[in-house]
């Protein structure tokens, strides 16, 4: 492998001049430039990115942290990789598997200058601890954070959940259950607030086993149906899900249990993923791609020195056949 020095020697110029050519500096004469370019071509030269990173103190790499890559994360990840790539930034995946130590390595890598910035999709460490890393580079989060140092691109799911609740009530459903996600998450709290508010406002019943938590995926959704069926007399008319995959699980299991949807059980998903469309699940449209792009835009002032305008975000209800 050839390096700058060799190119410089062969061309009869200094490293500085060769570097100028590489960086398209205007302060190089035309003939010098073409002579150097020719030699680079001949030697099949490409600059070493580690050397550049070390010298510039910038890697053009962004770390993205998630416990695991699942279907929900997919849309965000794709969209983020895409927009970051447009600005020459690469994306490194850090999967923690909910392990605090492993997750922390991503933050250490920010400190160690392996990445220029971090995006949190989900994290398990204490936010007070994580925010101490802000001094090493910009950090944004998709997951809502209870800490002011780390900004979040997510929307308040209170609004989205309200849409779903109002839709159900308007349709005449009164016995409404919830399949929440992480019990301690801000999203879950928002949803619980919306639920409590609406239920009280309409003077509707709230049973304890209608509030299930830690329901994340298809399998969990299937289990929810089986659990609810144990209380035959208190079976809900409708169920709101933490995401579309949970809704899919509930729908499939409901059918297996010979419940007809939406007559015996109405289902509302969340996110409006491809799958909810295919399976005809009523859901709340969540602009995930836009949030991923906003994540990059929020980093951009420190990354590319330019403030970028965030896209407006809005929920909407997509009515399909499960309500």
């Amino acid at each position: 492998m050839s390096n700058l020095d060799q190119i410089a020697k062969l061309a009869g110029f200094s490293k500085a001049t060769v570097s100028r050519v590489l960086n398209k500096s205007p302060h190089v004469s035309q003939e010098t430039r073409s002579k150097i370019l020719k030699i680079m071509q001949e030697l099949d030269y490409v600059p070493n990115r580690n050397a550049i990173s070390l010298s510039k103190g910038q890697t053009l790499q962004i770390g993205i942290i998630t416990s695991t890559i699942n279907e929900i994360v997919l849309a965000f990840l794709n969209s983020f990789v895409e927009v970051a790539g447009q600005y020459e930034f690469q994306t490194i995946i850090y999967t923690s598997g909910e392990d605090k130590k492993k997750e922390l390595q991503a933050f250490e890598d920010l400190k160690r200058k392996r990445v220029d910035a971090l995006v949190i999709i989900s994290c398990v460490n204490d936010t007070d601890l994580l925010s101490t890393y802000c001094k090493y580079g910009p950090i944004v989060s998709w997951q809502r954070m209870d800490h002011t140092d780390i900004r979040s691109v997510a929307m308040d799911q209170y609004e989205g959940y309200m849409l779903a609740l109002k839709h159900l009530i308007q349709k005449g459903y009164t016995r409404i259950a919830n399949a929440f996600g992480r019990p301690s998450s801000i999203n879950t709290h928002s949803r619980q607030r919306a639920y409590a508010y609406i239920m009280e406002q309409h003077n509707l019943p709230v049973l304890q086993h209608w509030n299930q938590s830690s329901i994340y995926n298809i399998r969990d959704g299937e289990q929810v149906v089986r659990d609810l069926l144990q209380y035959r007399d208190e079976f809900p008319q409708a169920i709101l899900c933490s995401n579309d995959y949970v809704a899919v699980g509930i729908l499939c299991e409901a059918r297996r249990q010979l419940l007809s949807v939406p007559e015996d059980l109405a289902i509302v998903g969340f996110d409006n993923t491809e799958l909810s469309h295919t399976m005809g699940i009523t859901t709340v449209q969540n602009p995930i791609e836009a949030q991923a792009q906003n994540a990059f835009y929020m980093l951009s002032p420190q990354l590319v020195g330019r403030q970028m305008e965030l896209q407006p975000l809005q929920y909407s209800l997509i009515e399909r056949t499960t309500t």
Copy 2:
């Protein structure tokens, strides 16, 4: 940010000794070590990864190339990130969006020493061109390659497809259609060979419109059903799919069209993903996780200087309710 030099000065030792402490060299006295470690702690010192990479000529980063991150890729990606992480390697995503230039950047990054190795999930460039990059580092592929320089971890889908075909025939289905993926791919060719062989052996009919290509995802699957319905009289009894997502699309659309499954149409997926389980789709179990792990193991001789034993791979048929 502090660096080696500062630590050395403050501790009253040389950079070399500090470096030894960092790298856990045994040739440092206990008190020197603890003294240096104490100072590192006080200054909150961590070594700069770019400097290490430059000096060692190794980044501990592996690039993974795919046109887009979809559900099929998910299992592979998760598994690969996991196993690579166990050996301290990080994974960088390169999504090409089928753009040859963009895809080539990943290979240039191998040359430029941004990554130590590459894993191809899918690629669009000419394999002759890509194999010229082998001299810069190890490259393996999940997608089957027609080039000997780049080894593939994938299995020959001929075997898997045979399982599915034999299953259908044993069940008494004779009018069998195919939803193939990329027309030019080696996998598709393997499947076509298996199909042709079985059909001829059993003297079964083969209609041209029973062989659909470029069917990749749920939407494509839905479309397949609508297309096939145009030939009412020549509607197949069963259909084999390029993957489980196509099968899901076909299943959902078939139900919407009031076809009963498997009576009017039997469906066999491929891969045995979570979703096929949930929806009760008969499928071919494809050990994707093991292939991802093997991908790392195939890189390992050049990456960690150790030959690792590849896991044996085997297809099996998972019979569920769609056949």
